[in-house]
């Protein structure tokens, strides 16, 4: 049986996002992300495949915090892909995903330089999981070693599992069956995930003629698969 063509898409509703960072925690738990030391964070080596970028707007007393959850934008024309000399990062034409092959990566770090969103993370040291944290590692996801680049995969292991379950049960994959960890966790449901090729899916319906939708740094022509819905003045 052939798997159908997918265009996996994520929507981030900035009006609903409260900046609680639950998605960051969920991602860490699902994808075996190491928690680097405080010293490393100060050096700018924090590793969060999804993280909240916060900007201050205006001056006191009319100051506003604006934040935007940022993860790999799974670009259709990803700048990080062609620069890899060993095909460690490449495009899945069927799913429109930007794949990262950890055990092929040699660590030139060119992809991160060419990534305008800076959402790729390099393992500067071997990851350390203190007792008993190593007990909760996800067996579906590789633990990456030192010298390897990594990034958000839209929880490709969860997508695979959902597709395989549907295949075994001999049915179509339903909308909302494949859910990345961050989307599942988001308390106000600010994150929505689905297949844009399916006109009935929730992402298709939300994005249809939505005046609030935009994509990050669209002028660069990277064609991201993550859509943001513009937030109003409701921020803290």
């Amino acid at each position: 049986m052939e798997f159908p063509n997918r265009r996996w898409t994520m929507i981030v509703d900035l009006d609903l996002c409260t900046g609680c960072s639950a998605c960051v925690i969920a991602c860490h738990a699902e994808n075996n992300l190491p928690i680097v030391s405080e010293r490393e964070v100060v050096r700018g080596r924090a590793m969060h495949w999804i993280h909240l970028e916060r900007y201050w707007d205006g001056a006191y007393p009319r100051i506003q915090a604006r934040f935007i959850p940022l993860m790999c934008q799974q670009c259709e024309l990803a700048p990080c892909e062609p620069v890899c000399p060993v095909y460690a990062t490449q495009h899945s034409e069927r799913e429109h995903l930007n794949l990262q092959v950890y055990n092929r990566c040699v660590g030139t770090r060119y992809c991160q330089n060419n990534d305008p969103y800076k959402v790729r993370f390099f393992n500067f040291f071997d990851p350390v999981f203190d007792e008993p944290l190593q007990q909760q590692l996800n067996p579906d996801v590789t633990v990456r070693s030192a010298g390897v680049m990594e990034k958000c995969t839209f929880c490709v292991q969860r997508i695979r599992r959902a597709e395989e379950r549907a295949l075994v049960e001999n049915r179509e994959l339903g909308d909302g069956e494949a859910v990345p960890a961050c989307v599942q966790t988001c308390p106000p449901s600010a994150l929505v995930f689905g297949d844009l090729n399916d006109p009935e899916s929730r992402v298709s319906r939300i994005l249809e003629n939505n005046p609030r939708s935009f994509r990050l740094l669209e002028h660069l022509g990277t064609e991201p698969s993550v859509y943001y819905l513009r937030g109003g003045e409701s921020h803290v």
């Binding site: 040699v106 660590g107 060119y110 030192a146």
Partner: protein, 485 residues
């Protein structure tokens, strides 16, 4: 022989003609090619350092070797613990290692290029300069070739970037500028080694005949590859050198253009510039010419080769330095003006960082060393023929060109489209030790080289001295040159 066309070289001046004797002495003092010495004596003075070492030599060898050893151990430590030992962070993923890579390639690019251009255009003063320049290319290229490996996260997997047949059927991706780079460097390195060897063949033959026994005789016999100096061999050699000189210049231009493309092909603001190709080539020749000057000055002093390397050579190289300083300034102006006029937010931030921000001392020092200082000094013939002045200017050019690479790689990367991801980089101990080790490695290789090969091309000087002569036309003394081909 008529009085007018009499060759005066080698003949003792007439006692009644004191003014003319003075003129001859002056010309001989200034120009190596008009001041011939017997072949025996010249060869002896060049080949003597091969079998005789001084305390200074062994001390220098020990110090440089020690620095190389420390750098090697640092590299091993870095491989064991991870790239975290460097100062790299999330926006700045390339820094000193890549700056070193570009810098050493730049030096390397220029050596063979200078030698090839001087040979093709038949500059008479080139003779003692060429071999040092060629060897600088080989050593600097080999050193720079280490840096892409040192900077890899998983160095031990480097062979995945080579196109070798394997079970998985995976080849490296030629979409990546890094692959173009590697190919170009390997071509340039191998052709530079061949070119240097070709130009050394007659000297290897001389050395083989001078050392009549011992391991040096056997060693030079193998390297000289049956060179006898027959008419046919000379003709073949001349053709081969000319062909190599012609072919190696475009290879060099391609290679350093591709190094520029490593950056220009990326969408990082201030890298994405179409002038980067020629800009990098000019910068490479600028830093390379300066490096040749420094190496020559050191060799001249250390091996007492004042007879061979004279102020006229520093004068010629100084002119080259000035020309390329002007060319570099023009390219830099291009690279600066266009983003400034465009006022794109990210590019603007980077330019402000250079002009007024934390990077401005480095930026100003770069402009001073690469433009202001060469322009202020090298226009004067008097200053150009003063060895200390030219060497100091060259040292400043080295600093300036290194800073240029550092600013492009390590500082520019800290700024990008999303201000949340801005960062700052400071070099850490591992990077500093490895950088010192890289400079030491070039010195170390030179030290080993001068013990194993003649560093001054004897045949080229002897040939030049045969072709050049002082002739008298009327009351005027004129240096003349005979054409062989």
């Amino acid at each position: 022989m008529s009085e007018r066309a009499q060759i005066l070289v080698g003949r003792p001046p007439q006692p009644e003609d004191r003014e003319q004797a003075q003129q001859i002495a002056q010309a001989q003092e200034r120009h190596l090619l008009l001041d011939p010495r017997p072949a025996e004596e010249m060869e002896e003075s060049i080949l003597r350092p091969l079998s005789r070492g001084s305390v200074w030599y062994w001390t220098a060898l020990l110090i440089l070797g020690g620095a190389v050893l420390v750098a090697g151990l640092t590299w091993l430590t870095q491989m064991y613990w991870g790239m975290g030992l460097t100062g790299l962070n999330r926006p700045v993923m390339w820094a000193v290692y890549i700056a070193n890579f570009v810098y050493f390639i730049g030096i390397g690019v220029a050596g063979t290029f200078i030698s090839a251009v001087l040979r093709l255009l038949k500059f008479p003063w080139r003779a003692p300069v060429t071999r040092a320049a060629e060897m600088l290319t080989v050593f600097a290229l080999a050193t720079s070739g280490l840096f892409p490996l040192i900077h890899l996260g998983r160095t031990w997997k480097f062979y995945w970037m080579l196109p070798y047949p394997n079970q998985r059927g995976v080849w490296p991706s030629y979409h990546s500028a890094l692959m173009w780079d590697m190919t170009a460097i390997l071509i340039y390195l191998s052709s530079s080694v061949l070119y240097a060897w070709l130009a050394m063949l007659p000297d290897l033959g001389i050395a083989r005949d001078r050392f009549e026994e011992g391991w040096r005789h056997r060693y030079f016999r193998i390297l000289a590859a049956g060179w006898r100096g027959t008419e046919g061999q000379w003709r073949t050699l001349k053709t081969a050198i000319t062909l190599f000189s012609l072919a190696i210049i475009p290879v060099m231009v391609f290679m350093h253009t591709i190094v520029g493309w490593d950056f220009a092909m990326a969408i990082q603001p201030d890298w994405h510039s179409s002038v980067f190709g020629p800009y990098f080539v000019t910068g490479a020749i600028l830093s390379g010419a300066a490096a040749v000057i420094i190496v020559l000055a050191i060799i001249r002093r250390a091996l007492h080769l004042e007879y061979f390397v004279r102020p006229e050579h520093f004068d010629g190289l100084g002119k080259l330095l000035l020309v390329f300083s002007v060319a570099w300034a023009y390219m830099y102006f291009n690279d600066y003006l266009v983003p400034w006029y465009g006022q794109e937010p990210a590019a603007k931030v980077i330019q402000q960082l250079f002009e007024r921000g934390a990077a401005s001392p480095l930026w100003l020092l770069m402009l001073f060393s690469n433009i202001l200082l060469p322009w202020a000094t090298l226009w004067s013939r008097r200053l150009r023929t003063s060895v200390p002045v030219v060497v100091v200017v060259s040292l400043f050019v080295q600093v300036g060109m290194y800073l240029e690479r550092y600013l492009i790689v390590a500082v520019t990367l800290g700024r990008n489209e999303l201000p949340f991801d801005w960062g700052q980089y400071t070099p850490h101990l591992a990077e500093i030790l490895i950088t010192i080790g890289a400079f030491s490695l070039i010195g170390f290789l030179f030290l080993v080289f001068v013990k194993l090969f003649p560093i001054i091309p004897m045949w080229e000087i002897q040939e030049g001295q045969m072709l050049h002569a002082l002739r008298r036309i009327g009351a005027l003394l004129v240096p003349t040159r005979a054409e062989l081909d």
